[in-house]
């Protein structure tokens, strides 16, 4: 087991030594700053003030670093998070096959399953790192603007009603939701990983993953009765499970059900990728 973690450590070292791994971090930071500027424009802030005053009261209290951080995260994560997680996971096997690095690894006394498990886990750790980076920087931006303390005002389109928290609970909910993004994005890592194990260009693995997720999201949003019978086939609604953690009272049965689907989807992606890769001839 120690050897597994040692190998995982080197895989992470390799991943984070590569400049392109940081593209996601850089882009997120730039977009966060842009959203921060937009949100703090006089007109936006007045709009927020009216809204918060109307539904929660106490704009000065509830428009805190946490509220601002949460707004930034919820605006950026859906699309950008999907893109960068798919980019890194789509690369993880396909790029190494394309570059020829994989042959040097496979000449070693290591099973393909172990090699893939290390790579899949490294992608999850990358995702966790990225989400925490986004969460922390968004929170940092909020702190710069609003300072420490206050309440938290939360609303996303998926929520039936707004939630309001005091500082400590808001802080816990905020970082719980950030962490839960890893589970929410398991379908993305699962699909990108399975595709990466095919004889495919790394960019193709990323593009197909994003296309699948977008198609799933669009179809799940079409308000036609015909789609109601097929709602259970769509995975993106379940990916919103992170937002359930921001409900005033967390609906744990729904959260756990969603997580079961998401973990199942991600694990299926890994197994499909492994079966494909296990059967493949790796040749120059």
């Amino acid at each position: 087991m120690m050897l597994f973690f040692k190998q995982l450590g080197w895989e992470l070292f390799r991943m984070f030594a590569r400049k392109r791994t940081y593209i996601g971090f850089g882009v997120f930071l730039a977009v966060e700053l842009l959203i921060y500027v937009l949100l703090t424009l006089d007109r936006s802030e007045r709009g927020m003030e009216k809204w918060i005053e109307r539904v929660a009261g106490g704009f000065e209290h509830y428009f805190s670093a946490l509220t601002l951080g949460f707004l930034i995260v919820s605006f950026t994560m859906l699309i950008l998070g999907a893109v960068f997680v798919a980019l890194v996971t789509g690369d993880i096997v396909a790029k190494e096959t394309e570059d020829g690095n994989l042959r040097l690894l496979l000449a070693r006394p290591v099973s393909r399953f172990r090699l893939l498990a290390i790579k899949f886990l490294a992608c999850q750790i990358y995702a966790l790192g990225l989400f925490w980076f986004v969460g922390l920087t968004a929170f940092g931006v909020g702190l710069l603007e609003r300072g420490w303390g206050g309440g938290m005002f939360v609303w996303t389109p998926e929520m039936p009603r707004i939630s309001i928290f005091e500082w400590n609970e808001g802080l816990a909910r905020y970082f719980l939701a950030i962490t839960a993004f890893v589970i929410a994005y398991l379908p993305i890592t699962g699909i990108a990983f399975a595709l990466s194990c095919l004889k495919i260009k790394p960019a193709a693995a990323t593009i197909v993953t994003i296309a699948y997720i977008l198609a799933d999201w669009i179809l799940s949003k079409i308000p036609l009765p015909i789609f109601e019978d097929y709602q259970h086939w769509f995975i993106t609604p379940k990916m919103q499970s992170w937002a359930l953690l921001m409900y005033q009272d967390i609906p744990w049965p729904r959260v756990l059900e969603s997580w079961a689907w998401l973990i199942g989807f991600g694990a299926t992606g890994f197994v499909i990728g492994w079966v494909i890769f296990e059967r493949r001839d790796v040749k120059s």
């Binding site: 050897l3 040692k6 190998q7 450590g9 080197w10 895989e11 070292f13 390799r14 030594a17 590569r18 400049k19 570059d99 020829g100 690095n101 042959r103 040097l104 690894l105 496979l106 000449a107 070693r108 006394p109 290591v110 099973s111 090699l115 059967r279 001839d281 790796v282 040749k283 120059s284």
Partner: protein, 304 residues
């Protein structure tokens, strides 16, 4: 040390077989060459040896472990170098070695340093691989193949792209490796000279089939071909007449004589002198691996 039995592989149902019933064995401490033109099936054979390519049938044993049934145990004894080895360009040579050896269970610092010094990369090992020359990459490839100490070294076109100096250096390294570490070496190449100078035995692969297996040194001494120079040159006609009485055939050219195996060359020379032929030179022609390669390349492929 390596036993390859009945390897068959077809990548595509409509394509010809990449390997068709190829068998050979490599003894401990031997340097064995797989020779063949590009696309002959050498890399497929090496891929199967390393468990990267699955054979349709057949088996590879390294020591007493089957690559197909106990891949990890079998590969614990093996180090491999590929044609144009690809490393992580953004990592240093040292970091590349750490990443790769972690998949072999890790190697202690001292052994790594020794190996790095042995391949002559000591000064540059902490530099980024992206800054390495082709020769340095090849040294790094050798270092990773030697970590941790393998019993068998598998080399796929190891000198491809190296300059002449690099090729000589690599050849010397192979001999040193055998001497210092007692390694068994299996290499594939399409460079006849390289194989001839390095290998104890070769298998020639053509169209996925083995068309020859044997020694390279034995090969050059097996020749029974002689070149005769007379003075005056017209004496060659007289020499031919004498040769025909001794069942000596032409070697393809007027001045070449192919002696039957049971005839000693001194008997032929004596017959020439007593027949009045003025011999200026009588030279034994050595058959090279190239001669053999060309001759078997033009023969239809046959099994073993």
């Amino acid at each position: 040390m390596i036993t390859v039995t009945g390897l068959k592989k077809r990548f595509d149902r409509n394509a010809p077989a990449a390997l068709d019933d190829v068998s050979f064995s490599v003894k401990e401490g031997e340097i064995y060459g797989l020779l063949g033109h590009n696309g002959a099936g050498k890399s497929t054979a090496l891929g199967i040896l390393l468990g990267m390519v699955y054979p349709d049938s057949g088996e590879v044993m390294i020591g007493d472990k089957s690559v197909q049934r106990e891949r990890e145990a079998a590969l614990r004894q093996v180090g491999a170098i590929f044609e144009a080895p690809s490393f992580y360009e953004y990592l240093s040579g040292w970091q590349n070695l750490k990443v790769l050896t972690s998949f072999s269970g890790g190697v202690d610092h001292e052994t790594m340093m020794e190996t790095v010094e042995w391949v002559g990369l000591g000064k540059r090992i902490k530099h980024r691989v992206g800054t390495y020359s082709h020769g340095m990459r090849q040294r790094l490839a050798l270092a990773q193949a030697l970590l941790p100490r393998p019993k068998v070294l598998i080399l796929d076109e190891p000198t491809d792209g190296l300059d002449p100096e690099g090729i000589v250096e690599f050849r010397e390294s192979l001999f040193e490796l055998r001497k210092d570490f007692g390694l068994t070496v299996l290499l594939s190449s399409h460079l006849l000279g390289e194989v001839e100078q390095v290998c104890d035995r070769v298998a020639i692969i053509k169209g996925g089939r083995k068309v020859y297996e044997g020694g390279t040194r034995g090969l050059v001494s097996e020749g029974q071909l002689y070149r005769l120079e007379t003075h005056p040159p017209e004496d060659l006609v007289k020499a031919r007449e004498i040769a025909s009485t001794l069942s000596i055939t032409s070697g393809g050219e007027d001045d070449l004589f192919s002696l039957p195996g049971d005839l000693d060359s001194s008997d032929f020379l004596g017959a020439l002198v007593s027949g009045g032929v003025r011999v200026r030179q009588f030279v034994r022609m050595e058959s090279t691996l190239e001669d053999l390669y060309l001759s078997v390349s033009h023969q239809p492929a046959s099994q073993d």
